[in-house]
Symmetry: C2
Subunit: 366 residues, 2 copies
């Protein structure tokens, strides 16, 4: 696939290249949308917390890492059960290298971060197997859209990321409710993608809500309310509000497709100003199919930061090459933005060096 | 006094002119810092709510007005006991005329606004007569400072306003604790400034905290904790974080002097990048003395929007000329910013016309 900076033009090359070139030298604002859902606590569904209960702490800890360079609500940083650190490490390194400002927005949290955050009026999400996953969806979309309108006036473009454990399962939930075939296609932070468990979870949720596959194709608000998570209305609203004025890079993996489906159903016009920005690990992942999901929704370009940890001196980073973690906290999108803002001066080598420096500091190794 | 645009250079003319000229054509971000204090409910102390209990709703309602063009948490708009509308009407008109983005930041609220707002970790304030007025002051200053650092990267300069009923009494409290002579000098939203009641309230608070006048000259954090309000740590932190990088216009009347005293004690270096922006009504007010308080603290310039409602066709606006309301919600500073951003295209006449248009819409008159 074609590259520009150290960015792979992964889908709709032509639009992707135009989109990326437009960002060169421009000043973005990075918004990190965080939320929690009880869905993450289903045994075996997420690696974004060492134990299921820890998933409540992962999003606020990620947000703290971005703003403070360290976590406050937990000791150390969020890690997978194998001790592989959060992708927020990549995001933080990219944003700092390129001096990109950060705003944290909450869609609904069990544990609040000990940093400034934008409250969008949402609540923590329930287990999607209840069929009643998220409260107040329409109101949060409206508030987030208002925030997006104002934030769009403060930057040349927005990069919006997310941190929510369990988010690929809720993504599958919303996509299924909206009639997008995504079973076996959503990504995972674990090397063994538990597709069966995700599918079973979503089917329970659909049944509990009295829904069939595609039953809410034209009702994205209800799809999120029944089978989604509280990151989604916050994220979708921000995009809708901002992309009317400036380009928006949706920074994430397959979770972005659920948000894309929601935006496409609510306000498709803004999508001409939108691209998905992810990592090489998501693009080359054999156990998921980001492009295959996007194809069913809207013709938006997909960019992927060509970051490669194979040569890292740290096992905890080389593990990313084995398909662990892959993406999250806008890692890919923030890397793309850092490269674009600096006109390529930040490249994959410089980024890896900075990530290793921060890894050593935060993981207490040399 | 000298003018530039429709702005009066009210103190330190030379610096004021340089500061103002630097803003010409630049793109600001307006931050509205809102909070509540039980102090506002002392009978006769504030006009920022028709009844004392309403003061809990004034700040969120003001914030909603700025972002939505109407209030959600109350019917209509906040008014004084005489039915004179909130100065947020001026702010909203100025910001919309000049297309200036708004961010609302909460220092601690009883009632949350139904719009996106930045949570800075604070709590509503207690009656200062307890001598224990505000919790968590240091932490809120730190969080706000972090927010200010990031926001400074998104704008050419910041304009920061406030909405907190009872705020001139808490200002007198902090100034007194810090040894600044302000008795009889703080402003009021009422035509008859209740200086005696404010002084008595502050003296009760000092006694309850076991403090003498000036006893906390070098401890601004404790001065706010004992006798201040939750707007102050949020506001001071934002200024400290932002003014290290960009100019900051502190938009308000005599309340700004308490925040100025706090900043001056914590981080005086940033004050070279700071000015106070207020209204003509504060500057010419015979019952208060903004400049006399500033003189005791730091040599910052004071600018005043030369807005004049004498010719308005609405009695509710002409009342401003009798000394009712005078300032609040960053009315003066936002008017100055609107004039500066548009290079004077927004002037006092155009602003009054827009304010009258919004007055008619919101007050349901013609």
């Amino acid at each position: 696939m074609k590259k520009f900076f150290d960015v792979i033009l992964a889908r709709n090359e032509l639009k992707a290249e135009v989109f990326l070139k437009e960002l060169e030298g421009k000043k973005p604002l990075f918004v990190c949308t965080i939320a929690t859902t009880e869905t993450a606590k289903i045994q075996g569904i997420s690696a974004a917390g060492k134990y299921p209960e820890f998933t409540d702490y992962t999003p606020p800890a990620d947000a703290e890492l971005l703003l403070l360079g360290k976590c406050k609500c937990i000791a150390g940083v969020p890690v997978t059960p194998d001790g592989i650190p959060t992708p927020a490490l990549i995001t933080m390194s990219a944003l700092r290298l390129a001096d990109i400002p950060v705003l944290v927005a909450s869609g609904g949290l069990k544990v609040k971060p000990q940093i400034p955050f934008l409250d969008l009026g949402g609540s923590p999400g329930r287990d999607i197997r209840t069929g009643k996953a998220v409260d107040n969806v329409e109101e949060v979309i409206q508030r987030a859209s208002l925030a997006g309108e104002h934030l769009a006036k403060t930057a040349d473009y927005l990069v919006i990321g997310e941190s929510i454990p369990g988010g690929t399962t809720t993504a599958l939930g919303v996509l299924s409710a909206m009639g997008v075939k995504a079973e076996g296609k959503v990504s995972s932070s674990m090397p063994e993608n538990p597709h069966g468990l995700k599918t079973e979870t979503v089917r329970s949720g659909l049944a509990a809500a009295g829904l069939a596959f595609g039953g809410l194709a034209n009702n994205p608000v209800k799809a999120v309310a029944c089978l989604g998570d509280p990151m989604m209305p916050a994220f979708a609203g921000l995009v809708i509000g901002a992309a009317q004025q400036v380009p928006v890079l949706m920074a994430g993996g397959t979770q972005m497709t659920a948000v894309l489906a929601v935006i496409n159903a609510l306000n498709p016009d803004v999508l001409c100003n939108v691209a998905i920005g992810t990592t090489r690990w998501v693009i080359r992942d054999g156990s998921s199919d980001l492009k295959g999901i996007v194809d069913q929704i809207a013709d938006v370009p997909v960019l992927a930061a060509d970051i490669d940890f194979a040569s890292s001196r740290f096992g905890g980073l080389r593990a990313y090459e084995k398909g662990i973690v892959k993406e999250g906290v806008g890692a890919g999108g923030s890397a793309i933005a850092a490269m674009a803002k600096t006109g390529g001066a930040v490249n994959k080598e410089i980024l890896l060096r900075e990530i290793e420096r921060n890894y050593a500091l935060l993981m207490g190794v040399k």
